[in-house]
């Protein structure tokens, strides 16, 4: 094909320009340390990298949330375990009250120690967390969890039920605190009956709960909060010295009957009733309305019984039974809360470990797509440099030949 003068220059110039462009490109990749200078270099990888960046950043956030969550749980666990320890000490002291050899002064000494323990527990219940809000107040972190209500003399919970959750993975948000309402407040007071009322031929009656758990079962199944009258029971003793236990004037099914012997115990669902007198007679009693008593109020009750009431004998035994049953109930609740915390701590550890692995593989994938392989890039750079110098030399050779040089 015939080559014109202009063609010769144009073709060689184009080669030089192309070689320069390629060299520029190779050096830019090396300098910016990426294979993808602009999205057009690899459109699908660019889109993929956008998605990966979001995942990596989210995962980092979840990991830092996990750290915060673990700290919160550890703090709560420490507070609860201290409270639990103090409760154990209080229980031991309460048991000592039953020592027959103690006088009122001895019991007063014990009650002073119980007061100290109450203050300690009160302090721990109002513990503040790392952010400066109250740990056990639920969502009301500026309100102190427990405080003494001067009007009633009872320690009342002023927080709410809320649990703040932290997101530690795309689908798992774990609670970082427990509300005082669940852990401290929700402790049942000892289930009892009201004082028995005798009428007719009965002279006196003494009720005693011998098997508290059996009585608790009976109570739970039979207490009726909609119809209060259903909580009234009667022991009806007829003239033939047979007794029947009735509920709200109606017989139970199956009917509970038996022979009545004055002074001997009638056993009914863990309740031991000792009635003196002769029939026809009636003893009325009711199931006491259910109450809750937190540990602070429980301790207050026993302290008041010793110091204000100065009780002894049967009354002291009654107060002690109340206190022991309620301290046990409170301890069970705290144990439950602590095992819940333990479960959550395990879960956080597992999820954090899993997230770490995911994060590594995400970062590796991103590096694969985006980052430059140094060996490859430097080779490319050297290649383009060589190509450019070769083309430049060719230009010189090809364009310097002309017939006019050889004409005379």
């Amino acid at each position: 094909m015939r080559i014109s003068f202009n063609q010769k220059y144009q073709v060689n110039l184009n080669s030089i320009l192309t070689a320069q462009e390629r060299l520029q490109n190779a050096s830019a990749k090396l300098e910016k340390q990426t294979k993808i200078l602009t999205p057009s270099d690899d459109p699908s990888a660019s889109a993929r990298v956008v998605g990966l960046d979001q995942q990596i950043s989210q995962m980092d956030q979840y990991q830092s949330n996990s750290v915060i969550l673990r700290n919160s749980l550890d703090l709560e666990e420490a507070a609860l375990s201290n409270i639990r320890g103090t409760m154990d000490q209080a229980r031991v002291l309460t048991l000592q009250l039953g020592n027959g050899a103690y006088s009122q002064l001895d019991r007063s000494a014990i009650s002073t120690q119980l007061k100290n323990m109450r203050s300690q527990i009160f302090d721990l219940m109002n513990q503040k967390d790392a952010d400066g809000g109250y740990l056990f107040s639920g969502f009301q972190d500026e309100t102190q969890a427990y405080d003494l209500d001067p009007a009633t003399g009872k320690y009342t919970y002023y927080g709410d039920e809320g649990q703040k959750k932290l997101q530690i993975s795309p689908s798992v948000a774990l609670a970082s605190n427990d509300s005082g309402k669940f852990v401290f407040e929700d402790v049942n007071a000892r289930r009892k009956t009201t004082a028995p009322v005798v009428s007719g031929g009965a002279t006196s009656a003494v009720f005693n709960i011998s098997n508290q758990s059996q009585f608790d079962d009976f109570y739970r199944q039979n207490y009726d909060s909609l119809i209060p009258a259903n909580n009234n029971f009667q022991v009806v003793i007829n003239g033939a010295n047979n007794y029947e236990i009735q509920r709200n004037g109606a017989s139970l099914s199956p009917a509970v009957t038996g022979a009545f012997i004055s002074g001997s115990e009638i056993s009914f669902n863990g309740l031991k009733m000792t009635v003196n007198g002769a029939g026809p007679a009636q003893v009325d009693f009711s199931l006491k309305t259910p109450e809750k008593s937190n540990i602070l109020n429980t301790l207050t009750d026993i302290i008041n019984a010793i110091e204000v009431g100065q009780v002894s004998g049967t009354a002291l035994k009654e107060s002690m039974s109340d206190a022991l049953a309620q301290i046990d109930g409170a301890a069970v609740k705290i144990d439950g809360a602590m095992s819940g915390i333990g479960g959550r701590q395990n879960l956080v550890d597992n999820i954090e470990g899993g997230n770490d692995d995911l994060q590594i593989s995400n970062k590796a994938f991103r590096a694969d797509l985006y980052e430059v392989d140094y060996a490859e890039a430097i080779t490319e750079l050297t290649k383009q440099e060589t190509a450019l110098s070769a083309v430049q030399q060719t230009f010189n050779r090809v364009t310097s030949t002309s017939l006019f040089d050889y004409l005379r």
Binding site: F5, Q7, T38, P39, S40, S46, D160, Q167, S225
Partner: protein, 676 residues
């Protein structure tokens, strides 16, 4: 005989002279643009009397020229498109501007605020990163908008250049025609060269077809068949004007006999620089801008909606944190009426907004139609929504549109400036400015609503172990729910009592019975309020566990609950929620939604893929052009070596012919000497 020799010698000398001058002409015009190699040919004279007439011709192949022009157009189209596309491509490769990192940062700060909701500084960080994200949206959008303005300005410049070239061709046509085609007049070679060069320049601007007229004129047409240069030196001109948006110029043709008549010119088949510019705008720039605008609207609306479902740092119901402004529709230039249409994004419907523009048509007496336009500006079939106007000003939204769907917008028709005319059309393109109009309402950290507005409590003396499960808040609008402004619930605290048989009674604070639920399956009582016939309260809840008859629970406004982060957790999960609509028209079962990050990734992929395709097209069209140039140059290009050889040749023939003259002189002298 002697005078024969003289004649022959003279003709030979003259012929060699002519040949030499042609060769010298070729050598001198080596660097002249558009010069084609000239060749002189001689006929021998009759009766053996030397050299006859000589004709100088241009060495040119019409097919090679046409191919060269066509490939020039193609390369110019691709180069122009690529130059513009590279700017957009580079814009989105810069991670500092990246919307994706901005969105990720925002949600990271929301998560941090969730970890400690009552801390003002972490809330402040959320507002701060909101502002940064908005700035990124604004910057990117204004850079893209700048490019659009640049395109319009470029179009103006190109149109002026093109018109100049068309003018030149027309006047050259006239001059060439004046020369005529005859034996006696030599063809005006340099005029022909000039005209061909002008045609080549024109093909850079626009792709053209040429037709040879009988009288030597060349007629020029666009690919669509519209005539640019016609016979007898008449020509049409191109014009650029915006209809309906004055900022968005399109190409039109002014007819020569009446410059007020404007014909539309299709931009799709135009080719050349102008075609590249216009196709870049409609295939890449505007879709990118629409996708960016759609991201802004989806994010703003989703955050607003979620914020309004929560309780803010002041204990009040959340308010919107972003505003997106009102968008006006552009009326077409030839609308008869003076009615105006405006639109806003309907609160809560941001995820229905498609990445398209809309065409609104008003048909008398009261029909209003809204259709979706695709990238080329054509209506997508099946997208029309027609409504009847019942009075002015008329507002359409999902509450009063048949089918309850208006692509996420609330449209208002207003005739205070004048009534609507029959057939009036408007173009609504909110996405072209929505990324710029997105602003924060204010940056007070307390406005972030991280807490939930309701909370429930169980009565401490309950016998059973019923507990509250999750609360779902769906609507806090005081007009349509049980919430009251600024922060409260009507009849709160509500009491929920278990009455046995898996049923609950709901009472308000004055113990009035509000409703009783149906018997629900035990163990987990879901949607208690809905079951009690109170579904329009705006929230609902679940109760778990086993309650005993008579157990009560209370539901109240979450006053003082500043450590609550339930709404904040949902807000943080918006990062992965499906907030963007993919297509304007699709079937009900299609997967038509995607998350914000997926949408951004799609946009990057779109830009990258389009630019990469144009890069390839540029390379391939460049190599095609090189081929065409090689063919053209091989026919019409001057080769110095060839001309050098010719110089020697014609010098020698000149010397030889001159010798004939001196030979004839010698013969004549000899004759004269003999006759003395």
């Amino acid at each position: 005989m002697a005078d024969n020799l003289l004649t022959i010698g003279t003709s030979g000398v003259l012929a060699s002279n002519g040949l030499l001058s042609t060769t010298s002409n070729n050598i001198s015009n080596l660097n002249t643009k558009g010069y084609t190699r000239q060749n002189t040919e001689y006929d021998s004279s009759v009766l053996g009397l030397g050299v006859g007439r000589g004709t100088t011709d241009r060495m040119v192949n019409d097919f090679a020229m046409r191919q060269l022009r066509r490939d020039t157009s193609s390369v110019s189209y691709n180069k122009q498109f690529l130059a513009e596309a590279n700017r957009v491509d580079t814009l989105f490769s810069n991670t500092a501007n990246s919307i994706s990192t901005g969105i990720t940062d925002l949600f990271k700060q929301v998560q941090t605020a969730n970890n400690d909701p009552s801390n003002t500084s972490s809330r402040q960080l959320v507002m701060g990163s909101s502002q940064t994200l908005i700035n990124k949206f604004n910057t990117l959008s204004s850079l893209v908008l700048e490019q659009r303005t640049f395109v319009s300005q470029q179009l103006d410049t190109f149109v002026v250049e093109t018109n100049n070239i068309v003018n030149t061709i027309a006047s050259l046509n006239k001059e060439i025609m004046a020369y005529g085609i005859g034996q006696s007049t030599p063809a005006p070679l340099d005029l022909l060269d000039k005209r061909d060069e002008a045609l080549r320049e024109l093909s850079e601007m626009i792709e053209i077809q040429t037709l040879d007229a009988v009288n030597g004129e060349k007629l020029v047409f666009l690919n669509s068949g519209q005539a640019l240069v016609m016979e007898h030196g008449r020509f049409n001109m191109l014009a650029a004007s915006g209809n309906p948006d004055p900022e968005r110029k399109v190409l039109e043709m002014q007819l020569d006999y009446n410059s007020n008549i404007l014909q539309d010119v299709e931009s799709a088949g135009l080719g050349g620089k102008i075609g590249g510019l216009l196709e870049f705008r409609s295939q890449m720039l505007e879709p990118t801008q629409n996708k960016l605008g759609q991201l802004a609207i989806a994010l703003g609306d989703a955050m607003n909606t979620q914020n309004q479902l929560g309780m803010d740092g002041n204990g009040q119901l959340g308010k919107p944190i972003y505003t997106m402004g009102t968008f006006g529709a552009y009326p077409m230039r030839d609308n008869a009426g003076a009615g105006r249409i405006t639109a806003i994004v309907e609160s809560g419907k941001g995820s229905s907004v498609p990445p398209n523009e809309f065409l609104m048509t008003f048909t008398a007496p009261n029909q209003f139609k809204m259709e979706v336009l695709d990238n080329e500006g054509k209506v997508i079939s099946g997208s029309a929504i027609t409504q009847t106007v019942t009075g002015y000003p008329m507002t359409f939204n999902t509450n009063n549109v048949t089918g309850g769907f208006l692509y996420g917008y609330e449209v208002t028709l207003d005739n205070t400036a004048g009534a609507f005319g029959n057939g009036d059309q408007f173009i609504l393109k909110p996405l072209s400015i929505s990324a710029q109009t997105l602003t924060l309402v204010n940056d007070r950290p307390e406005d972030l609503a991280l807490a939930s507005p309701v909370r429930g409590e169980f009565a401490i003396n309950n016998l059973g172990n019923g507990r509250f499960g999750d609360f779902k808040v769906t609507n806090t609008n005081p007009a349509t729910s049980a919430f009251t402004a600024p922060g409260g619930i009507t009849g709160a605290p509500l009491s929920v009592t278990y009455i046995g048989g898996n049923q609950f009674e709901i009472r308000n604070s004055s113990s009035t019975l509000l409703g009783t639920t149906a018997a629900m399956t035990g163990g987990s009582y879901t949607n208690v309020l809905a079951s009690a016939g109170l579904a329009n309260y705006g929230f609902d809840f679940t109760l778990t566990g086993v309650p005993k008859t008579g157990d009560t629970f209370s539901v109240a406004y979450n006053s003082g609950g500043f450590k609550d982060n339930r709404n904040g957790l949902i807000m943080a999960n918006l990062q992965s929620a499906d907030l963007l609509r993919k297509n304007a028209v699709s079937v009900a079962t299609a997967d038509n939604k995607m998350s914000l990050n997926e949408g951004y990734g799609n946009m990057i992929g779109f830009i990258g893929e389009k630019t990469s395709a144009i890069k390839l097209a540029t390379e391939s069209s460049k190599s095609l052009l090189q081929q065409s140039e090689a063919w053209y140059e091989s026919i019409s290009g001057v080769n110095l070596d060839e001309e050098a050889a010719n110089l020697i040749r014609f010098q020698q023939s000149y010397a030889a012919a001159a010798k004939i003259i001196s030979a004839s002189q010698t013969i004549f002298d000899t004759l004269l000497a003999a006759a003395r």
